[in-house]
């Protein structure tokens, strides 16, 4: 059985201009210990998806429908109190901005300890001892001194390490990392990605990595799900997705990113553009959400939304024209 099963997740927001369908019926699963990447551009619903999994969407104006099953238990049917026992314990989360997601007036030790005291009932001394242990695990030098420091005394990379320490302190089954390295410099990003992979293996957690950076996806993920305008347009194992993308949007994204080293192989050429921009999510989109920007679009695409189809083994795409591989 999959660790997490999401079925027809819909997260809608009521706004003065109408209903915003930020996530519009997506289904996916995550296996134990697996790394799934969710990729897409701003506004495609990838962050709202992750917030929905944690039930961090304010209701109202938000509304989550569908089913989110963690080892068979539907999180959407739990009371707020039951949900609190799961957050930070079974499922934990790392956010993009390590400055704003740490409390500036508490020491990092207190913040790591809070999770431990709440979920594992450790007392103050034990929690601090464990916090020091966690800090050294995430590679912070002098953990016994750092544990008494405040977030502003740490650099961006160190703060993200503290976030990772907090999120892993209770040995979660699922770690959701929402753009964990976007705010960091490349050399620090490389450190943090390596640390995450290393710890994930040690703790045995599954990871949902949310990112817009296809380079990070290629390095870290095992399976990839591509989102566009609140819908899932493609899903495949990582090597398969990069080698033979089926959906025109995925193809466009891959063509729009220059590869390092392209000037050496003579492959440096004009970047592929995806014309136009992401459609507004206010108001229902008839047909395929990508039709307005797609070179292949026909009347069929504009009228009928394509369903997800298995185009080859474990490779799904939602496009009328993505050819199926001859079995």
């Amino acid at each position: 059985m999959a660790l997490l099963e999401v079925e027809n997740l819909q997260t809608h927001f009521r706004t003065p201009e109408g209903i915003n369908r930020a996530v519009d019926g997506i289904s996916f699963h995550v296996d134990e210990g697996e790394t799934l990447a969710i990729v897409g551009e701003s506004g495609c619903g990838k962050s709202v998806t992750s917030m929905s999994l944690m039930r961090l969407i304010p209701e109202p104006p938000g509304k989550i429908a569908g089913a989110i099953r963690l080892r068979g238990k539907d999180l959407l049917r739990l009371s707020e109190q039951e949900m609190r026992a799961i957050r930070g314990n079974d499922i934990s989360m790392i956010f993009q901005e390590p400055m704003t997601s740490l409390n500036p007036v508490l020491t990092v030790g207190r913040q790591i300890g809070e999770t431990l005291r709440l979920h594992q009932g450790l007392d103050k001394e034990k929690a601090e001892a464990r916090a020091i242990e966690m800090l050294s695990l995430v590679g912070i030098p002098e953990p016994a001194r750092r544990v008494r420091e405040y977030p502003h005394q740490l650099s961006g990379g160190m703060r993200q390490r503290v976030m990772i320490a907090i999120s892993l302190s209770c040995n979660p089954k699922l770690l959701i990392a929402d753009e964990p390295t976007t705010a960091l410099d490349v050399t620090i990003q490389a450190q943090i990605l390596q640390l995450m992979l290393d710890l994930k293996r040690r703790v045995g957690a599954a990871v949902i990595l949310i990112t817009h950076d296809l380079g990070v996806v290629a390095e870290v993920a095992e399976r990839v799900m591509v989102m566009y305008a609140g819908r899932k347009v493609e899903e495949a194992p990582v090597a398969e997705l990069f080698a033979s993308p089926r959906h025109p949007y995925t193809k466009g994204l891959l063509g729009a990113v220059p590869k390092l080293g392209s000037s050496l192989t003579g492959a440096a050429r004009r970047l592929a553009e995806i014309p136009g921009q992401v459609p507004s999510l206010k108001g229902r989109i008839e047909g395929c959400a990508f039709a307005g920007r797609c070179a292949l679009a026909t009347d069929l695409c504009r009228q009928v939304a394509p369903g997800l189809e298995e185009k080859s083994s474990r490779h799904f795409a939602a496009c009328h024209f993505a050819s199926k591989e001859a079995a």
């Binding site: 551009e41 490389a190 450190q191 380079g215 390092l260 000037s263 553009e273």
Partner: protein, 328 residues
Amino acid sequence: MNAPLLQVNDLKKHFPVRGPLFSRKANWVYAVDGVSFDIARGETLSLVGESGCGKSTVGRAILRLFDITSGQVALDGQRIDDLSPERLRRMRRRVQVVFQDPFSSLNPRLRVRDILAEPIRNFGLATSASELDTKVAALMDTVHLSRDALDRRPHEFSGGQRQRICIARALAAEPDLIVCDEAVSALDVSVKAQIVNLLQDLQAEFGLALLFISHDLAIVEHMTHRVAVMYLGKIVEMAPRQRIFAAPAHPYTKALLSAVPVPDPSARRVPMILKGDVPSPINPPSGCRFHTRCPFVFDRCRAEEPELRQRAEGQWAACHLEDIPETA
């Protein structure tokens, strides 16, 4: 002989910061500490480096958004770092800028028409109202925006479209050099490609020189002619594109390149992962500024600061090592 369009010689910019509470002693941030380079007409030079390395400060010093601490900046052989305000105004026409955030760099209360007309009027580039209108309309065509959009205000546009407006505004002054300070960093992948292509087209069409400040090495490689790598206020390596991406001569460049995630899962590489963080520019390390993180550090690095030395045609690096060892 063609003199370079822009020459920067030993540029320094130190910012004062307040020392400890109640102490009179001020500290200095050595944001840019002795940087020299030049840019030819129609050339793109990229300044790359991590946050706090001083790359944006260099860009702003060239634009003269503040006075520099020491050094010289010359445009067409004429110094611009000590110009009187009146002559500075005329210089500003020739060097324009596109910033990272297209939301905060456009005045929300102006229509696009007025945003684009302002530089044309200020620099007296149109002799009549009808010429002004023609120029403004032509600018919209150049950046592929609809002329119908001239009467709209910035909030009605998407991020990519606003960045097109910023580029059009820079072009309105008919500059020789545009400083692009992380001009595509805030944009989504598909929109980023549109803007990168636009900048390349404009460079070919108008013979513009670009100072492209960025931390995105893949984009830099795609569009630059030469690259200067900065670390803690200094240039550690400068070379033509092909050279720097094929055979970096400074360990920092090598680490930077190897840290970039490649969008190709079959490319299994061993990244050279640097330890620690960038030290503070308030109190930079002695000797080579990179010595605290360099895997190949030896005694001389801690004591003596390496000069930029030529390694190959056009390739300069500031490192005591002759070659970078294969492994640390």
